[in-house]
Each structure stands twice: as structure tokens, then as C-alpha cells.
Subunit: 319 residues, 2 copies
């Protein structure tokens, strides 16, 4: 995908760098740490690749892709405060370096700046899509907060959470390409669906990786979710398939009274015994396949190939 | 002002209550604590009163006034996290009751919901005004964070900060009334100026009150700013007018090594000696007078009287 959108991405990066500036130097300093530091620009690349799929020839999507990345970055800054994280993409998080107050406020700066970019573009439809997505994300994050450490969370409830907190922005990033390319509602919905299913697949793989990867490949420590008491799909499956003793273990683990390396080893062993990781990946693959199938009616070519590849790449991270 | 806008405010409150709902029950619970709990609805009332001043007969301003209140509430939620506050308007703050994570995320929910309300209204001009104001607020808050505990902050720098963090939303709340009433740019600018000057006066009085009021009238403890090392105008004036020993005292106080009740008493005595409180109030009165004067060309009547009264009330809180 990177090759397909390289020229466009160059423009998007210019907008990002230009519009994260401020006379208050802490703002570009902190924002730059996250934006420059290893961000994969996945969401803006989706906007660009979808615009390419629709043969869009204009330049409006550069500003809007930057707006999407600003929303994502604001979310990350607030997430790290909410989770008390110390490491992201293998680097110290902004809240560790500059403190929680700065992370909260620079997040607000980027979030409001993203709306300024959309207003400059002038499409009420885009504004509707991205303000809705932002609201759904925040609602999903609060929902996750409520579910935190509750091992009884159902798979359906968990899918609701990640549909909101992760997949909504993937969907919106793709959908706005249909708006700028002035395509009909069916195309909007198809790209929304592609993004949403890719987003769910992406998050499920992230959840699986947390139990199998190491800090080097993942940019966060193995077992971070485990130690934070985050009830993700692998845990939900292992809990459902375990016996009473195992369920007690998971309950204690998620409530925070079993967070040692031995406990993590025990958790990993239980996940393996119940095929909870493999099945989480299989679920992810199903969503990934749905994302690919929705592209079926679109014309073949390099853009479609890149969007299919994006799904395959998201899944392949688990191997 | 309350009498003038009572009927409209009733509609605004309905929108607020209706649109802060969510299936995630923590959201209305937490938002309701702040929104229902003693909020004066000052900013939405300004929108309503300015619309009345312009003889606006429609209902668009109800939704937009609710959007303004949501932005304000989101800012308060994030402020309390940033300041680590425990008390606001005499009640425990949301971050104390539900924790910082919930306050950050519900703030994000209300902020994005405010943009959804604006999109429903459909005016790009209003969206531009309020996204700009939101961005300026966030920038001002980061700016204040940078200035925190720095007693060398100049009066000009301080005015920049409060123009951004407080006055920008007052200005925007008034300005959007001119947009919905479809009045020309001169009217927009006049109402913007009224709101901005009122906002600065309001903040300067708040700063003065912190050194003279008690928790009962103010809803926060006396000397909160002092103990938090917040460099406000009274401190800036006393520092400038003090001798070397006094400047050392202020430096130590703002850096946090002099926060006892005796230190606060010493601070209050220095402020009194240098007329720093009285002169802060005098500065506030000047801005208040500018706000009143800008209303001059508007037709006399109950709306204008209410807007003048709002300025006088803001100032009178210091007595």
C-alpha cells in the first residue's frame, strides 16, 4: 500500500507537520514525538488508497487524511493517560515524558485542529462522518473502561467495544474517500464496511499478539493487556472453555491479584490449551475475509490489490 | 439575564439532557454530575441573550447553545484532571468520584457530541467559529501549563493565556448568535468583542476572588490558585511591585515550597500592601466597560439591559 500512496502521503505529511505547529512550543514537541515517531499512518493511507480505488483525481483527501491522523493521535494520547501506559511502538509514551496534563491538552488541541481541517474542506457530510466516528470512539472507550477487569464480558460485548474504539475510525477513514470522490451511498457503505471489518480484524490480531509477541516486534511488552486486566478475546474464549479452577484464575488475574511472570506463563499455557489464540486469529481472519469480499465489485487494479494486501498484512502480524 | 432567556434556556436544557444520554450509563452519570450540578449555563445564556438582542425568532440557537455548554463541560472535565482538583462549585469533582480515565473520556464524548450538534445545525460558519475557539482554548491551556509556577510571567503573557482559555468561548458563544440571526460581519465582530471582554473580566475577577473569598461563596477553597502555584494577575502585580525579599517569597511560593496557611496569610498581606487585588479588579472593570461600550450601537431594550447586567454581575462577585 505504501508504494501506491507514496506521493499522496508526502502531501498528507506536509499538512500534518504544518498544522501541528503552534507558538506554544510544547505542542509541536509533544505531538511530533507521537506523529513523527514510528506512526504507520495506516488510517490516512486507507483514505488515500480508497480515493485511488475510486479514481479520485483531486487533492481534498490530503487535508482530510491529516484530519483522520490527528483524531487518531489525539485518541492515542488520551489512551495512554487512561491506561497509564509507559511504552508505545517501543518508545516511551508522551505522558511519561511530559506528564498526563500535557498529553490530555495536546490531545484536545489535535482533536479540535482536526475539525478545523474538515471545516476548511467544507463538506458537511465528511464532518458528520468524522464527528460521529469520534463520538462513537469516545463512547467505546468509556464502555471498555466499564468492562475493564470484568472477565464475564461476552464476546458480543467485546466486539461492540472494539467496533467502536478501533473499527469506527477505520470505517470513517475509508468512507470519506467516497464522499470526496462524489460516489453514491452504496459505495460509501461498501468502503465503510471494508474499513470496519479490517479494523476489527486488526484489533483482534493486536489482542492475540499481546500474548505471543515480544517488545521488539510489537512495540509494547508481552502481556501488557494481561497485567492491565484487559479482557480481550483470547481471555474471553479461554474463560468460557475453562473449568472452575481456571475461571477462578482468570477472575483473579483480571482483577489484578495475579500479575507475576509465572501468572503470565500460566495464562499463556491456558490460552494454548484451549486454542484461544488460534481461534482469536481465526475470528480475525473471518473479518478480514469480509473486508476483502466487499471489495469484489470494485475494478481490479493496483488500488484494490493494495487494499487486499492491507488486510493480509494486518492478519500476518500474528505469525 | 435568567428571566430574559428562561423559556429558551428550558429548550437548551432539554437538548443537553437528551444529547448527553448513552447506553454506556457511566456517561450520563458522570456528565450529569457536572451539567446538572450547579452549572450556571453562563455561556449558553450569552448565546440566547445575544440572539434576543438581534431579534432572532428561530430555534437554531437552542442546539448550538447546548453545543457551547458541551464544549465548556468537556473543558472543565479535562481541567480538573490537569489541575488534580478535588472541588468545583462546592462539590467533589468527577475525577475524584469516577477517576481521571473516565473524566478524560467523557470529556471527549461531550466534545465530539458538540460537533455532532453543530453538524446537525449545518452552518459551516458556526462550525468554523467553534472549532477555532476549541483549538484556541486547548492551545491556551497548554500555554498556561508552560507558564505554571513561573512567577516571571508578564501581564501581557497572562492576558494571552486567559484570552485563549476563557475568553475565546465567551466570544464564540456570543458570535454564533449573529450567524444564526444572519447579521453582517460587523455585528459578528461586535458580539465577539463583547464576549471576549466579558470573558477576560470574568477570569480576572475569578483570580481576585481566589484570594478573598471563602469556599462557600466561591465553590472552591481560598488560596487554591496559590497552593497550586498558579501565577495569576494579583501575583504578577505584587511580584512586580515587591522588593527583593518579596520576590523571593513569591518565587518560592509559586514553586511550591511555601504553601502553608501562614504562607497564604503572608501572600494575602503582600497583595493588600501593593493593592494587587484592587488593581486586578480595576483591570477587570476596564474590560467590563469595553464589553458594555461595544453594545452602545445596539437598540435599547431588555436584551441589551440583560447583557450589561451580566457584565456588572461578573464584576460584582468580587465584593
Amino acid at each position: 500500500m505504501i508504494q501506491l500512496v507514496a506521493a499522496d502521503l508526502h502531501h498528507v505529511n506536509s499538512v500534518i507537520l504544518d498544522r501541528m505547529q503552534s507558538d506554544v512550543s510544547l505542542i509541536p514537541e509533544l505531538a511530533g514525538h507521537l506523529i513523527a515517531g514510528g506512526g504507520k499512518r495506516m488510517r490516512p493511507m486507507l483514505t488515500l488508497a480508497c480515493a485511488r480505488l475510486l479514481d479520485y483525481g483531486g487533492a481534498r483527501h490530503h487535508k482530510l487524511a491529516a484530519a483522520v491522523e490527528f483524531i487518531h493521535t489525539a485518541t492515542l494520547l488520551h489512551d495512554d493517560v487512561v491506561d497509564g501506559s509507559g511504552l508505545r511502538r517501543g518508545r516511551r509514551t508522551a505522558n511519561i515524558i511530559w506528564g498526563n496534563p500535557a498529553s490530555v491538552l495536546v490531545g484536545d488541541f489535535l482533536f479540535s485542529r482536526s475539525f478545523e481541517l474538515m471545516v476548511e474542506d467544507g463538506s458537511l457530510k465528511v464532518l458528520r462522518i468524522l464527528s460521529r466516528a469520534s463520538n462513537v470512539i469516545a463512547e467505546g472507550e468509556v464502555n471498555q473502561l466499564t468492562a475493564q477487569r470484568r472477565v464475564e464480558t461476552t464476546e458480543d460485548h467485546y466486539l461492540d467495544i472494539i467496533s467502536a474504539k478501533t473499527a469506527a475510525l477505520f470505517a470513517a477513514a475509508c468512507r470519506i474517500a467516497a464522499v470526496v470522490a462524489e460516489r453514491d451511498d452504496a459505495v460509501e457503505q461498501a468502503l465503510d464496511s471494508y474499513g470496519r471489518n479490517l479494523g476489527i480484524a486488526f484489533q483482534l490480531i493486536d489482542d492475540a499478539i499481546d500474548y505471543v509477541s515480544d517488545a521488539e516486534t510489537m512495540g509494547k511488552g508481552v502481556g501488557d493487556d494481561f497485567r492491565d486486566g484487559k479482557v480481550t478475546l483470547p481471555v474471553i474464549l479461554a474463560y468460557a472453555r475453562g473449568d472452575e479452577a481456571e475461571r477462578l484464575f482468570w477472575r483473579q488475574a483480571m482483577e489484578g491479584s495475579r500479575t507475576s511472570d509465572e501468572d503470565l506463563a500460566e495464562a499463556t499455557s491456558l490460552l494454548r490449551r484451549h486454542r484461544a489464540i488460534d481461534d482469536s486469529i481465526a475470528r480475525a481472519r473471518t473479518y478480514g475475509q469480509r473486508a476483502i469480499d466487499v471489495l469484489g465489485p470494485f475494478p481490479n487494479g493496483s488500488a484494490k490489490a493494495a487494499l487486499v494486501e492491507a488486510v493480509e498484512f494486518a492478519i500476518s502480524r500474528a505469525y
